[in-house]
């Protein structure tokens, strides 16, 4: 028997095909896309900050305008204060929980993880709205409860304050620290702790001297991410700080974007936010690369949970207290508001109503469409990110082109650009002619794509590195081309990873507010912007209904993700 093998190609022809047609074309195409998505908005942002509004000449006047008034500078300082206090508070929530879940026999560890996940998928602005219902002056539920208990004239809580804002921001960013800390603690082997025990250290001393110091770089890394989240956040500050009559960077930027749009001043004003972010990300990278952390990357060894004895329930109580603040109370009163005629009238049957839901879904002019928009744009950008980053990660990991590392860097780079700054860059680059994309669906999809490139790239390159290249070489040596290898072997094997990456992008993309708020147009309003608008109008019943619809629609996706990738797929290090 003989096999009709493909003819032996002449070397010269095949070499030429390899060198010019495929590789270089793909490289050039990807570079072009990345230049468009990442580099050009960034360059426009910087250039615009030095450009005079009408004449287009070089000027420093934008900077003078941006920092010329003390209240503008105060807003900057407020942001730093907000970042620091929110991060500190979030650390208090996250670190004990992470330790309890990762290293102890606290009851309800699975439940605690689930509640942290529930916190993680709650958009910060939804949490902020819930806390306005809870701790608004006078009418807030906590104040009413306090008055009911003590008979006092009024309650002590006022969400419209700096501490109130810091609390709300901390409550919905502590999962980042939780993720970092559990990841690190799960790598500390029991043997390291045993070594301290055998030398005479008790459980507390061991934790203080061995376990926590080993996890410290990760905890600090988490704090930094939390800080950056806090200073880049738009929704919660806009809902809370503006009524409280103070500004932070993001709300100030929003005002520069009001009528008339002063994009040049906004660009100049965004620079400190960008600078702080870049600086802190560098520090965070250095921290997690330090020697102390290397010890954690080795073989973890066996891990036994630390027995807490009668402290078990105290620690569990603390976990439930945090969960009450971030999940139980907020969702209870969001539900109440969504299903009531007027949220202030409380829990009674005659206040029960499905009208809000019906109104939001079927009567409101744009609410239902905004949810559809969120899902469409989220799906489009998640798909674009997954395809693009998979291509780049493959090319970089398999070293198919020279300077592949540059492509990888461009995919990771948007990580240091806060969403609001990115939006200003996109506005500066693509709102004016010739592209004139402002208000189109495309500009939102492109901005989301850029924003979530890093998540996609980290996941795609981890997935490809997990594949033994021999799998593809086996295809080629048997006569299949590289494309055949991609189609028949790589893609089927990475299905789950790609689905996971897609969900990790899609879910946050459907909630994105800080880039969308600067780029949406009348026909491209997304759900997050809709919710923000409703909060400005004070329609808390409609708003709660819409926010809950968004959350409920996310549940099946979470379920799919957990089926495909395991229960904690959103709470892993690669997710952030």
């Amino acid at each position: 028997m003989t096999v009709a093998a493909p003819a032996l190609a002449t070397p010269a022809a095949s070499r030429r095909a390899f060198a010019f047609d495929s590789t270089w074309l793909i490289w050039i195409a990807i570079i072009a896309v990345l230049l468009f998505l990442v580099v050009s908005p960034f360059v426009y942002l910087v250039v615009t900050s030095f450009t005079a509004e009408r004449t287009g000449e070089f000027t420093l006047s934008n900077y003078a305008a941006a920092y010329g008034r003390s209240r503008y500078v105060d807003a900057l300082l407020n942001s730093l204060k907000l970042g620091a206090s929110a991060a500190a508070l979030a650390g208090l929530f996250a670190v004990p929980l992470a330790w309890a879940v990762a290293r102890t026999d606290m009851p309800g560890r699975g439940l605690t993880r689930m509640l942290v996940l529930a916190t993680f998928i709650t958009p910060p602005y939804t949490g902020a709205v819930a806390w306005i219902l809870l701790a608004g002056p006078n009418a807030g539920w906590l104040n009413r409860f306090y008055v009911f208990l003590t008979g006092a004239e009024s309650g002590p809580f006022d969400i419209y304050s700096f501490p109130g804002l810091a609390l709300v921001v901390a409550l919905y960013s502590f999962p980042y620290i939780f993720i970092f800390t559990t990841a690190a603690l799960e790598l500390v082997s029991s043997e390291m702790e045993d070594a301290a025990n055998i030398l005479g250290a008790g459980a507390w001393r061991t934790m203080r001297r061995v376990t926590l110091p080993l996890a410290l770089p990760a905890i600090l890394g988490g704090l930094i991410i939390c800080f950056l989240e806090a200073i880049a956040l738009f929704g919660s500050p806009a809902m809370i700080a503006i009524p409280a009559r103070f500004n932070v960077v993001t709300t100030q930027l929003f005002q520069f974007f009001g009528n008339p749009v002063r994009v040049e001043v906004a660009a100049a004003y965004a620079m400190p936010l960008l600078g702080v972010t870049i600086l802190l990300i560098l520090i965070q990278r250095l921290l997690t690369r330090r020697k102390g952390f290397v010890a954690l990357t080795g073989k973890g060894g066996e891990r036994r949970p630390i027995r807490l004895g009668r402290w078990r329930w105290a620690v569990f109580g603390y976990a439930m207290f945090v969960a009450a603040l971030s999940v139980f109370l907020p969702y209870l009163f969001l539900l109440q508001a969504a299903f009531s005629k007027a949220w202030g009238r409380g829990f009674s049957l005659d206040n029960l109503s499905f009208r809000n839901l019906h109104f939001v879904l079927f009567e409101h002019a744009t609410a239902a469409q905004s949810v559809i928009n969120s899902f469409l744009y989220g799906a489009a950008s998640a798909t674009a990110v997954v395809i693009l980053t998979l291509g780049v990660a493959y090319i970089v990991t398999r070293r198919l082109v020279p300077f592949g590392g540059a492509l990888g860097f461009l995919c990771i780079a948007p990580f240091v650009i806060p969403g609001i700054v990115l939006a200003i860059g996109f506005y500066a680059a693509y709102a004016p002619p010739p592209l004139a994309l402002y208000g189109t669906a495309l500009i939102l999809i492109l901005a989301f794509t850029t924003r979530f490139l890093p998540i996609g790239y980290v996941n795609a390159s981890a997935a490809i590195r997990s594949l033994n290249p021999e799998m593809e070489e086996a295809v080629r040596v048997l006569g299949g081309s590289r494309l055949t290898a991609l189609r028949r072997v790589v893609a089927p094997l990475l299905k789950r990873n790609l689905l996971g990456a897609w969900l990790l992008i899609f879910i946050p993309a459907t909630r994105e507010l800080s880039a969308a708020i600067f780029l949406y147009g009348p026909n491209t309003k997304v759900a997050s912007v809709m919710i923000f608008d409703m909060s400005e109008e004070g329609n808390f019943e409609y708003l709660a209904a819409l926010a809950l619809i968004l959350q409920v629609l996310t549940l099946p996706l979470l379920w799919i993700g957990q089926k495909a990738l395991g229960r904690d797929f959103m709470l892993r290090r690669s997710a952030t």
């Binding site: 028997m1 070397p11 094997l493």
Partner: protein, 353 residues
Amino acid sequence: MSKLVLKNVARRYGSFEVVAGFSLELVPGEFVSLLGPSGCGKTTTLRMIAGFAPPSSGTIEMDGQVISSPSTVVPPEKRRMSMIFQSYAIWPNMTVGENVAFGLQVRKLSRAEIDRRVDKILDVVQMRGLKGRYPAELSGGQQQRVALARAIVVEPEVLLLDEPLSNLDANLREEMRFEIRRLHDEFKITTVYVTHDQSEAMVTSDRIVVMNHGRIEQIDAPHRLYARPKSRFVAGFIGRTNFLEATREAGEVRFDGFSAAAGRVEGAETSGSLLYSLRPQAIGLAMARPNGGSLAVEAEIAGRSYLGEYWDYQVRPLAGARPLRVSTGPNAVFEIGSRVWLEIDPAAMVRVE
């Protein structure tokens, strides 16, 4: 005509030479092993033959056509070769049958023909019953058989194997050596086999290329490599040996503790210092002085280990400083400290570089 010709092939990373001056010709149907310690360049050589890496200089020809040179490389998929990888690279998303059928599908054979050949080759490797299984459900040895079937079913011009047995346990490894040789005898495919295990190479190969630091030390049939190593490296790498330093003085070759007439020892034409390899099995051990043409050297047992299949003695000539290692059958028992006679055939001493 030669099937595969490597002419002065080299591969460099910067100034570091992974492979240098590698020349080899394989006749059709020949089984050649590349043997050497890790990092000696054998896998790099194999990957250049497969087309995964271009040579920095030199050429590779198949059937008289250049398939690799620094400027032109026929891609792997156009070489009509197949390869078995260290990790097997069995695709976990395809069943055993689909894995084996893959190469035939690429070659656009009819479905009936593919089925026929897949069934036939699965019979040969005794995996027919597991055709519908996924790789995750197979043992390491079964995966290995799938890899073999997948590589052979396309009837490649050249079959390449990259340390295919290194992930198997010891018993299975021994079984699979014979299996690989059996399949070669059945299909007569020109084969290049990379391994660091000398017994694997000796069981399977017609010829062995011993490599060290990117260079060829010696190319020979297995028994000649063992009996007639050309370099110190080969003598030490293939089997155990004694290295004997010697000097030639006035018609005599002086070893440590004994000497021999220069005419009876090979390569003793030149004067000065010489190096010889003497296998522990080639030395006789007796209580009484042996008769016959061999050298007889009085010695003392300095140490011993019992290894079941043989005794490993350390025996020091009375007039010498360093003990020699001597292997005897398991029944030849000598106590430590006892006086014995060594019986050395001068012809068994091989001069090495």
